[in-house]
């Protein structure tokens, strides 16, 4: 196995009395794209959100187990969630640009995290280039971000995450609200991003999982059923359930 960047060990998650994630053990390799697949409600988004502690504000969520970024215990009491989220970025299902200009969307987090002022334009430009958005927006950085098309908004959301130079990027079905052309652009973007980042992506779309993944994890009813390279999952799945799902028999 390659270097392990992110891992969960014996992870159990409860919402109130409901047992949502059951004994999950999973390792994500550095500079790879790992897809989480499975039918709706299997817990893949819930699992993804554990890694940047997005459940912290959910009233009755209870998390047990050990989650690690390199050697760091993600849920360690003393460790700042703010610092953690700078290192583990997240892109959401629906594009959610801030109600500000394109430039402000990019500079927002940089300002929060005290990046030197004179470096901002340069950092923003390179992040936008990296996200294949620069050419489309360089003339109109002052335009409100909500005026962009859905696909552009989502790429802006990715760029806004990339600009902080995180180590891991979590993506929760980033293309589910987009048309096929925008989806294609984002997939290309994901493939180019993996050189610098470790990417974990939740997807509903089997073709997408095949196009972009190095590894694939199949989940069902809160359990991790099978985790392997994408060739193995799609061509030589060991479990019957996995085979049925990837061949489209249910889900």
């Amino acid at each position: 196995m390659a270097d392990i960047k992110l891992s969960a060990h014996n992870l159990n998650l409860y919402f109130g009395t409901k047992h949502i994630l059951k004994n999950i053990d999973i390792d994500f390799s550095k500079n790879k794209v790992t897809s989480l697949i499975g039918p709706s409600g299997c817990g893949k988004s819930t699992l993804l959100r554990c890694f940047n502690r997005m459940h912290d504000l959910t009233p009755d969520a209870k998390i047990e187990g050990i989650l690690k970024l390199d050697d760091l215990d993600i849920y360690k009491k003393k460790y700042s969630v703010t610092e953690l989220r700078k290192r583990i970025g997240m892109v959401f299902q629906k594009p959610n640009p801030l109600p500000k200009s394109i430039y402000e969307n990019m500079s927002y987090a940089l300002k929060l995290h005290d990046f030197p002022k004179n470096e901002l334009p340069h950092l923003i430009e390179s992040a936008l280039k990296e996200s294949y958005l620069w050419e489309e927006v360089k003339e109109e950085l002052k335009k409100p971000a909500v005026k962009l098309s859905g696909g552009q908004q989502q790429r802006l959301c990715i760029a806004r995450t990339v600009v902080l130079r995180p180590e891991v990027i979590l993506m929760d079905e980033p293309c589910s609200a987009l048309d096929p052309i925008s989806t294609r652009k984002i997939e290309d973007l994901i493939l180019s991003l993996k050189r610098n980042y470790t990417i974990v992506i939740v997807t509903h779309n089997m073709q997408q999982a095949q196009r972009i993944s190095d590894d694939v994890a199949f989940m069902y009813l809160g359990e991790l059923i099978e985790f392997d390279t994408y060739e193995n999952i799609f061509k030589n799945a060991k479990k019957e359930l996995t085979k049925n799902y990837v061949s489209g028999h249910f889900g």
Binding site: S80, T82, E83, D114
Partner: protein
Amino acid sequence: MDIKKRESLDWFFKQAFKATGLLTICMLGGIFLMLLYNSIAFAMDIKPVDFFTGYQWNPGNANGKYSILPLLVSTGLVAAGSMIIAVPLGIFTAAFLSEFAPPKLQAVLKPVIEMLAAIPSVAIGFLGIVLVGPGIAKLFGIQNGLNALNGSILLAVMALPTIITISEDAINAVPKSYREASLALGADKWTTLFKVTIPAAYPGLIAAVMLGLGRALGETMTVLMATGNAAAMPRGFLDSIRTITATVAIEMGEVPYRTTHYFALFAIAAVLFLITLSINLLGEYFANRLRKFQA
């Protein structure tokens, strides 16, 4: 700012905001304790039995009479009268708004109703003096139209926005399928409204009535201006009356500090507080039942 500073700022604001939440508890507690303290002081001077029986409110002098009964009956009478007018009117208006009115009319009527709720109570009281009062006097051939009926009419106007808004929510909350089932069986719109929609919405309608009643019971200026303020046991709607709120408003300004009379005003306010509190709690209970029924 470094992360430590930012996070302590976050913590600081969280605590500060929480303190304002605790402030609301303190406010309610403070009001309650104030009424309790002064009522106890009053009970030391006047036996509670005399307070709740007896027929006279005639405070002030050495052997003043402190019976809440005439005030309580007045308050109840004027509020009951207002509900007799406002409940049918309010529920019909709500039913009309949600079931029959075209969207354009709704868009006009709703802000008008909200606007009605914003008219100051003194302005409505003034209307009672210059318009409703003379009208009543003419209609019944009496000398003075400042009486319970006048107060009831005005309070009905004031309670209407509350009753309409909450009733409308209740009626809107009735699932569409109920209505469709009734209509599909051949019932017309009106039958459906009376036999299906209104019975299904009834917990919400009761909540609406309770909150409207709460507002009518607690209203001060309108009744103070329009009901004549005779502190005697009323015999009917054409009698001049004096509610609890009006009594406090009239007498508090002139009463010497910490006398029996002063404490008495807090005591009657405490009774009013308990009544409005129970009515509001009852309204809330029914509103919750509606919520459960929706889920």
